[in-house]
């Protein structure tokens, strides 16, 4: 029987505390202990990006981060992107452009796109494509995802 490690962290601007095992991933903690099921496990090995979150302003695969590593750090997940009933421009544009079909990769893409635009508010198409190359989508062929990000970037620059 392993004793749990107590972790204090901040998730989507709220303080959060949890217990986890030493070998538990942050993805498992988010989904199984904290009820934040937006991040998805597509592969468990950091190859698909469906579990993408932002950890202290850095885009990471939460399946490659240990739960205990969240101690004292800030986490942003897709659940924190909307403000009340106001969708984030990326969320709104993904809907308008139909940048999702099955939607399983969408939380990961939204987080990755948010991180991309925070660092590069006016990216070229090529920069968007390479910036999102860590997220796999099998349904859309990426066309409408790129258009949605371009459109959202414009809104965010203008607003």
């Amino acid at each position: 029987m392993m004793t749990g490690i107590a972790v204090s962290t901040n998730i989507n601007s709220d303080n959060a505390e949890f217990l986890c095992h030493a070998d538990e991933t942050l993805l498992d903690v988010l989904r199984d202990r904290l009820g934040l099921m937006g991040a998805k496990e597509g592969c468990g090995t950091g190859d698909c990006g469906a579990c993408s979150i932002i950890l202290d302003d850095r885009l990471v695969c939460s399946c490659l981060v240990l739960g205990a590593e969240a101690e004292g750090r800030r986490i942003e997940t897709v659940e924190g992107m909307a403000q009340g009933d106001q969708l984030h421009p990326l969320q709104q544009k993904f809907l308008e452009h139909a940048a999702l079909q099955c939607g399983i990769c969408t939380p990961g893409f939204l987080i990755a796109a948010k991180d991309l635009l925070a660092k590069n508010p006016d990216p070229t198409e090529e920069e968007i494509r390479f910036g999102l190359a860590g997220n796999l989508c099998r349904c859309t062929g990426y066309d409408k995802i790129v258009r949605a990000v371009q459109d959202a970037a414009g809104v965010m620059r203008g607003a």
Binding site: E41, Q101, G103, L136
Partner: protein
């Protein structure tokens, strides 16, 4: 239900628009619940032990130590499952694939399972299960398995479709043949002939969501299954049949699905989860890992295809001949048969013959993958057609236009075609700006056509009109890519109300009659037909209620733009009654207003597409870059054009990955070497350009709006379009898919 020709002149008010889908907000906020997003109190974690051998007799399985591990609540082997040996052969194979009964038939084949209080305990328990294997020789390559001296996988399989029946068993489970005319005589008359052998490697549908379910069986035999699936009614039927349960006692709820493409039309771990739950007396959550998805779900066939096509000087194809070998995994299948049917379907041919061979291999059981079997056959045929066009001295598009099937053409698989879109897609491609764009060094352009059948099938819908006038539409075809939006548009169109007043949901198996799966491009086609029928039934009732409210005859009431309108001289000045008003009064006029429809949607028609692709090849590394891609496809009538475009783009992207990079790599030991997304590399965002789409609308005469299925056809042309582009770029005919850098370099060096 026939096409109403007035629709081709009429402008639709809802159908053809592009509103936001009803399940959209949940999907962009992380609220939508997929297979692994559901939990039940007291649930256990299920895990499966899998064979590390490609082919072995299972001599003994000792589960005692595992069962005794604290926290383990159930251990399962095939001995705990019904023995279907004397029953339906197909069901036997499905169950054996879920849990091996006598032999492990591929690397990853399930041999045992446990349910425990947590994942750590479950994994530990698996390690305590002792399996005694007796290794057998294995064969994983389709050509090697076809050879008469290949290791025999199943000694009860004698090739069907051969007369007289063979006296020895083999790995070829079926031979099938299609065609008409006299191919040998036709070929003798040909002025130009192309004869080639092509090979395609095995690929996986690559859905990002692994299979996941939560099964809960009670001691009274009632059960609940939450699962990501393309067909919850089919899963219910199969699970019940396989486990000897009462289907009516099993309620299956389909979660949101994170991709399927055919791979979630078959059961894999679900019967195991139910059996574990039944044994443990507690709910069991079973989620496959990505490694398991690759090794033990259902990839598509690997193929080896011989094509011979002959043409006359004037460009007429005079004879076409193909022999197709498709791998089906270790159980009998019928994939080659479909390849043989679709191979020459695009063309008008006097003499044609296709022979398909179904070949067993020690690989996972082949499952459907978006227009199953068609992409590989199209790769072979369209590559040969391109070569033949060059020999004849014609432009590849004109050569195809000259020989394209039309209304009235006898299809290579038999029946005569009704109105079809291949000619229009070719003409559209011929005139498309993409064809005129200049090409640079090491760049090549390729085009190809493709064909796929679309299905109808059993479909039920319930359309309920609430007292506030909003409409609730319950359908049974799982929404894989936005069909709830399309169906809401159809309901809104028929009723004459606003899209925002309709809410479409996917009902569970207790709430609707049987629905076939979402496959065969049938989701929107079938459910829209049933929705139209249900709406028209509801409108009958709405008119009756209006007649009541006005105290006139129902014959004098029509339905126009969401209102009941009184006709005739006596009633002409009665103010119209809106759906809302009629609904509000429904409590007093006879109760809730609804329309139901239970149909077998038939006449789905066929769908054609033509693609154009520009590729740049680096002659030093063999690396490729997709510069430009265009899809032209016939949709009949695009209900929600944005989602139709999405299907075109998605299928094209999968085809591009298949053409350039994706393949299952097996070692000499018969084990899968690349069971993960790192080494089974599907296209990423930076691999692709924008994918241009052009939707043609040649109405399907068997649907009230002319709708055709669109989901699958767009994966059929890309293998050939990309191969033709690469072949043109490097000046060498490419014969082996995927055209990964090593293969391109080898072709350049040859």
């Amino acid at each position: 239900m026939n096409f109403d020709p007035s629709h081709s002149k009429r402008s639709f008010s809802s159908v053809g628009t592009r509103p936001i889908r009803p399940d959209g907000v949940d999907k962009v906020t992380g609220r939508a619940r997929y297979g692994a997003d559901f939990n039940m109190p007291g649930q256990l974690v299920g895990r499966i032990l899998r064979s590390p051998h490609a082919h072995a007799i299972i001599r003994k399985i000792d589960t005692l130590k595992a069962a005794q591990l604290p926290g383990v609540k159930a251990v399962l082997t095939a001995a705990d499952l019904p023995d279907l040996t004397d029953g339906d052969a197909a069901m036997y194979d499905i169950l054996d694939n879920c849990m091996a009964r006598k032999k492990a038939l591929y690397d990853g084949h399930a041999v045992a399972a446990v349910a425990a209080i947590d994942a750590r305990t479950a994994k530990q328990a698996l390690k305590l299960i002792e399996v005694e294997y007796e290794l057998l020789p294995h064969v994983t390559d389709v050509d090697q398995a076809f050879a008469p001296d290949a290791p025999l996988i199943n000694d009860t399989i004698f090739t069907t479709g051969v007369d007289p029946k063979p006296d020895r068993p083999s790995n070829v489970s079926m031979r099938s043949q299609f065609g008409h005319g006299d191919v040998d005589a036709g070929m003798a008359r040909a002025d130009f002939v192309v004869e080639r052998t092509f090979k395609t490697e095995q690929t996986h549908q690559g859905y990002i969501e692994p299979h996941a379910c939560v099964a809960s069986v009670s001691s009274d035999g009632t059960a609940d299954l939450w699962v990501c699936t393309q067909g919850h009614f089919v899963y219910r039927q199969h699970c019940a049949q396989l486990l000897g349960m009462d289907a009516s006692k099993l309620r299956v709820t389909s979660s949101e699905i994170g991709g399927g493409f055919g791979g979630k039309t078959h059961v894999w771990a679900e019967p195991v989860a139910l059996a574990l739950s039944r044994k443990a007396g507690r709910p069991v959550k079973l989620v496959m890992t990505r490694d398991e998805v690759f090794r033990a779900s259902g990839p598509t066939s690997a193929t080896s295809i011989d094509v011979k096509i002959g043409a006359l000087k004037d460009g007429t194809i005079i004879a076409a001949d193909a022999t197709l070998r498709y791998s089906c995994g270790p159980y009998a299948g019928a994939w080659a048969e479909v390849g043989a049917m679709t191979a020459f379907a695009c063309y008008k041919l006097e003499n044609v013959r296709t022979v398909g061979y179904e070949v067993l291999v020690n690989r996972p059981k082949t499952a459907a993958y978006r227009a199953p079997s068609a992409p590989m056959a199209a790769f072979a045929v369209e590559s040969a057609i391109d070569e033949l066009a060059k020999k004849v001295g014609m432009n590849p598009i004109d050569f195809r236009i000259r020989n394209a099937a039309q209304e009235g053409t006898k299809a290579s698989y038999g029946p005569v075609y009704g109105p079809i879109g291949i000619g229009p897609t070719l003409e559209a491609v011929k005139n498309h700006p993409h064809m005129k764009a200049p090409l640079g060094r090491n760049q090549g352009r390729g085009m190809a056509c493709g064909f796929w059948f679309n299905f109808g099938g059993q479909t039920c819908t319930d359309l309920n009109i609430g007292m506030d006038g909003t409409v609730s539409l319950a359908v049974g075809t799982v929404d894989v890519g936005g069909s709830r939006a399309s169906l809401s548009l159809v309901a809104a169109e028929e009723l004459g109300i606003d899209y925002s007043q309709v809410r479409t949901v996917i009902a569970d198996t207790s709430s609707l009659g049987y629905n076939d799966m979402t496959d065969g491009s049938r989701g929107t086609f079938s459910s829209s037909m049933a929705t139209i029928s249900a709406a028209r039934n509801a409108i009958k009732i709405l008119r009756e209620r209006a007649a009541q409210m006005w105290d006139i005859l129902v014959e004098d009431v029509t339905w126009e733009k969401g209102h009941a309108v009184a006709k005739g001289e006596t009633h002409g000045n009665l103010p119209k009654l809106s759906l809302k008003e009629i609904a509000a009064a429904s409590g007093t006029t006879g109760g809730p207003i609804a329309g139901h429809s239970e149909i077998v949607a038939d006449g789905a028609g066929v769908s054609f597409a033509t693609h154009i692709c520009d590729i740049e090849v680096d002659p030093e590394t063999g690396a490729t870059k997709v510069l430009r891609y265009t899809v032209v496809q016939d949709a009949g009538k695009a209900v929600h054009p944005t989602y139709v475009e999405g299907q075109y783009q998605g299928g094209a992207a999968q085809g591009i990955g298949w053409a350039l990079n994706e393949e299952y790599i097996y070692g000499k030991d018969g084990r899968l070497q690349n069971a993960g997304f790192l080494d089974y590399r599907i296209p990423v965002c930076s691999d692709l350009p924008m994918i241009d789409t052009q939707i043609l609308e040649i109405p399907n005469p068997n649907h009230p709006y002319g709708v055709r299925g669109v989901g699958e056809t767009s994966i059929v042309p890309p293998l050939a379009a990309v191969a033709n582009a690469v072949s043109n770029a490097v000046g060498v005919r490419m014969l082996h898919i995927p055209m990964s850098p090593p293969r391109i370099l080898a072709a350049l060096e040859a």
